[in-house]
Each structure stands twice: as C-alpha cells, then as structure tokens.
C-alpha cells in the first residue's frame, strides 16, 4: 500500500456552458519519504494535481488516498507552500508561523512548547533573526523560506510545494533548493513539488513525473532519478546520470510534448 495514492483522478471545469476536461486518469503512488516532482508545460494542469491532493479542489473522477484514507477537503496534514508565499501581510514572520502552530497543536502542546516549535522551524529555514519583521520588510526568498517554515511547522504527512522557487532570481533559487534538500535529508519528509524547471526537478527529486499537455492531461512518464544523496550541484555538472536524467526530461518536454502554444 502506497503512502499516498492518486487513483484514476480526472477533473473537468464547467464555464459558460462549456466543459473543459483538464485532467484524465492520473495515477500516481508515492512512498513515504519520497521527493517527487511533477513537471510539465504551463497550463497542463500540474498545479491542479497539487490542489486536488491538497483538497482545495475536489476531483470529478477518482480520488486521493493518504495512508489508506480518502482525502476530503484541505487540512494541515497536507501543508502547501504556495507559489507567491501567501504570508499574511498584517502578521510578523513569527506570527505567520505561530498562526499555523497554534491551530495545529492547540491542546497537544503547551504554550511554551508551541513558542519553541515556532522558533525551531524558523531556525530550520534560517529566518529566526527576522521573526519580528513583516513580510513586506523582507526579500522574496526570505518570504518563501517563511512559507516553508509555516508548512513544516504543521508537521504534515506530505509537503506540497507549488512552484515554490518560481518567482525568485537564479541565485536565491539555488540557495533555497539547497536548503530544501538539507531539510528533506534531515526530516525525511514526503514531498510533491510542482515545477517547470528541469534542473531543479533533476537536482531535488527521487522521481520526476512528466505530464502531457492539456486538455485532458495525464502522466506521460514517471522517471526515477538514480542519484546518490546528498547531492551537490557543483559535483553533478559532469555526472552522466544527472545529464542523462536531464536529457530525458528535456526530450520529453521539447521533442515529444512541445507546448502547444509554442509549437506554432
């Protein structure tokens, strides 16, 4: 029994009388502790998959099972790191994490324990120094780190990252990728990450799930990345496994499933 099972999931949206089938027959099994990336061209519905796992969207067909139990609606056991951080601007960095901690651990941890846990998670992403700043006072990369801390602080069974580094510059992005890898190796989280960055997918993932183009998108290929951990980006430059994996994803995205808008 897989830890997380996406079972024959399909979803259609109805707008102005017309029905658009976005996803058809998506099947995916993820083991505990696995880091799985979902990659595809923009508009293919990869974020929709994530939202279905998060419970923010109900699938039209099929369902999602987490530890054998059906997912019905969103919950802190499937914490999401949103693309644009979505920190609440009227709360400080600490209060943003605290909101989650207090909600999830009320009754289970004492007030002091909850405070320590908040602090611990901010330290994990190296943001404890800015705990009293408001989101508009810190950089985009820092905001995303706080977003990750907030998600980690919920102690989720599965962490859902929705293009978490998409809005960041290349250097900040690399730095954050390293931090996420480090956290993954320390805590052994199960992670699904949506991305459109091939290097990011190969560097971070145990498996790369490639999606075909919509409408009615589905999983085109599911590839294992046989790279030892810990991975260091500099050492991987000439690594043949890394390069082969990279080439396979590029081949899928640009030769076999070109973006329909770019094909013309």
């Amino acid at each position: 029994m897989a830890y997380l099972k996406i079972d024959h999931v399909g979803i259609s949206f109805q707008r102005a009388g017309a029905t658009t089938e976005v996803l058809r027959d998506v099947n995916l099994s993820i083991e505990k502790g696995e880091y799985v990336s979902i990659i595809g061209h923009s508009g293919c519905g990869k974020s929709t998959v994530l939202n279905i796992v998060a419970g923010l969207l109900p699938p039209s067909q099929g369902g999602v099972l987490l530890e054998g139990r059906a997912v019905e609606g969103p919950g802190p056991d499937r914490a999401v790191v949103f693309q644009n951080h979505s920190l609440l601007p009227w709360l400080t960095v600490r209060e943003n994490v605290e909101l989650a901690v207090n909600k999830v651990f009320r009754g289970r941890k004492s007030k002091a324990e909850r405070r320590d846990w908040t602090r611990h998670n901010l330290e994990l992403v190296h943001m404890a120094h800015a705990e009293n700043k408001r989101p508009h006072e810190i950089s985009g990369g820092m905001k995303q780190r706080v977003g990750i801390a907030r998600a980690l602080a919920m102690e989720p069974k599965i962490l859902l990252l929705d293009e978490p580094f998409g809005a960041l510059d290349a250097l900040t992005r690399a730095h954050l990728q390293d931090q996420v890898m480090e956290i993954h190796s320390r805590l052994g989280n199960t992670i699904i990450m949506i991305t459109h960055d091939v290097d990011e997918a190969v560097l971070l993932s145990d498996r790369i799930v490639m999606m075909t183009n919509g409408p009615a998108a589905t999983i085109g290929e599911d590839m294992h990345v046989a790279l030892e951990r810990p991975r260091r980006r500099l050492e991987l430059v000439g690594n043949s496994t890394y390069n082969d994996a990279r080439a396979a994803v590029l081949e899928f995205l640009y030769a076999r499933h070109r973006a329909p808008t770019l094909a013309a």
């Binding site: 969103p74 802190p76 979505s86 989101p135």
Partner: protein, 300 residues
Amino acid sequence: MVHSARVLALPNPKIPAPTRQTALHPLVPKPVSVLSRVVRLGTSVATQVAPPVLTIALLLLLWQMLASSPTSALPSPLKVIDDSWEIIVDPFKVGNGIDQGLFWHVSASLIRVGYGYILAAIVGIGFGVLLGQSTLAMRGLDPVFQVLRTIPPLAWLPLSLAAFRDGQPSAIFVIFITSVWPILINTSVGIRNIPQDYRNVAKVLRLSPIEFFTRIMVPATVPHMFTGLRIGIGLSWLAIVAAEMLIGGVGIGFFIWDAWNSSLISDIIVALVYVGVVGFLLDRSIAAIGHLLTRGTAAQ
C-alpha cells in the same frame, strides 16, 4: 609688458585658493552643521508652510479687492470681521432658543452626525460582510442597493419626517442613509478582494469561520473599510447642513439658514469657515484612525 602682465595675472588667483581651502577646512564642520540645520529647518518651514499661507493671503486680498466696491453684494473679509465680531469672539455663548454660540451649533450638528454615522458604520459593515461573502446575497441585494444609493440624501427627508414625525430622528436617518452606501460597498469590495491565497491558507489550516473572520477577513478588509468610512463621514457632513436647514433648531445648518433670513451675510461666511474646518478635521480623524489600524497591512 602687456603679455607678461597677463601671464602673471593668471596664476595669481590660483595661489590664494589652496590657502583659503586649508584655512576653511577645519572650520567647515562645526559652524556649517549647526548653520545647515537651521537653514534646512528654515527651508522646510518655508517650503511647507509658506505656500498655503501665501495662497490664503492672496485669496483674501483678491476677495477684499473684489468686495470692496460699495455696490458689492457680498461683504469683504474686513467687513465680515467687523460685522460678525460678536460671534467670532464668543463661540461658547449660551442664549435662549437658537441664540447660541457657534460652538454649540456645531456640536449639535456633530451629535446628529455621530448617531447617524455610527449606525451607518454598523449596518454598512454588517451588510458589506454579507454581500462580500455570499454570492446569493450579492445577487439579491446589490441591484436594490445600487438604486437606493443614487437617491440624493435630501430626497429622503420628507419621507423620514412622515415616518418619524420629528426633526431629530429624521436628520439622523438622513445621515445614516447618506453614509451607509459607501461603507457597505467598500466593505463588500474589500471582502471580495481578499486574495484566494489567503483563503487557501485558511482552508489548509482549517480555520473556523470565527477565526477566519478575525484573523483574515477583518485585517484584509480594513483598508477598504476605511476608504468607505472616510467617504461616508464626508458625505454625512455635506448632508447634515442641508438637512438642518429644513428641520430647524440648534445646528450649524439652521444657523446658516437663519442668518440668510436675517440678511446677516457675514455670519454665514463665518459659519462656512466653521463647517469647512470641522469637515476637514472629521476627514482627517477618520483617516488617522484608519492609518493607525492598517499600519503594516497597506504595504504588500
């Protein structure tokens, strides 16, 4: 001879220059820092205060010139001061009936505005939340509100007089109905504009409806709410003067109407200055409260 004189003349100005510099340098920091601070203060006062003062002075001068002719229908500023000296110097006068100082007229108006406005804020925010959260309520109520809000405030007065049979509640009702629409509409727009991301965060955290209201909806909506509250207070103050002209009694509106009936044009002008200044202060105080409550949330 002429040539050599020229050649000599050239280096001459250069020689004193370095000595002047070396002589001044040690002196420069101390006196200039104090002096520059005074100068900076002076220039900031001059650039901030001088333009409005100058503008007002020029306008008064223009008014004085235009109204100085003996055939002028309106009094000049000097004549206003001369005519209305009594009410200018004694705003706290207590007399019989409506013969009160301007302070009492203004405060009577402010009390009416206060009742109507607070009522409007409660109802406006309440319905605003309902319309913002419920699409069904929006569909049902929005057309009604869109029609009602275009009705001019004073058009409500006869109806409210018929309903309440008394001036005081009628005036309060007019204030209420005038200021409720911007508060209601801005609140509902604010709630509709809560980013989907914040709603998703609330869903993932499984916030209860009450937690969602206090932790997300209120802070996200406060800036919009205060835009509505600020427009509302401005409209209330506009409406109260007109409403009081019709209902009579103590109040700045009826004071103006009474002065017109008694041909005391100078008193009207003094009253208008009061109305303007009080309206300005009302607007600023609501803006200040809003600023205080939204600190840190405006920037995103």
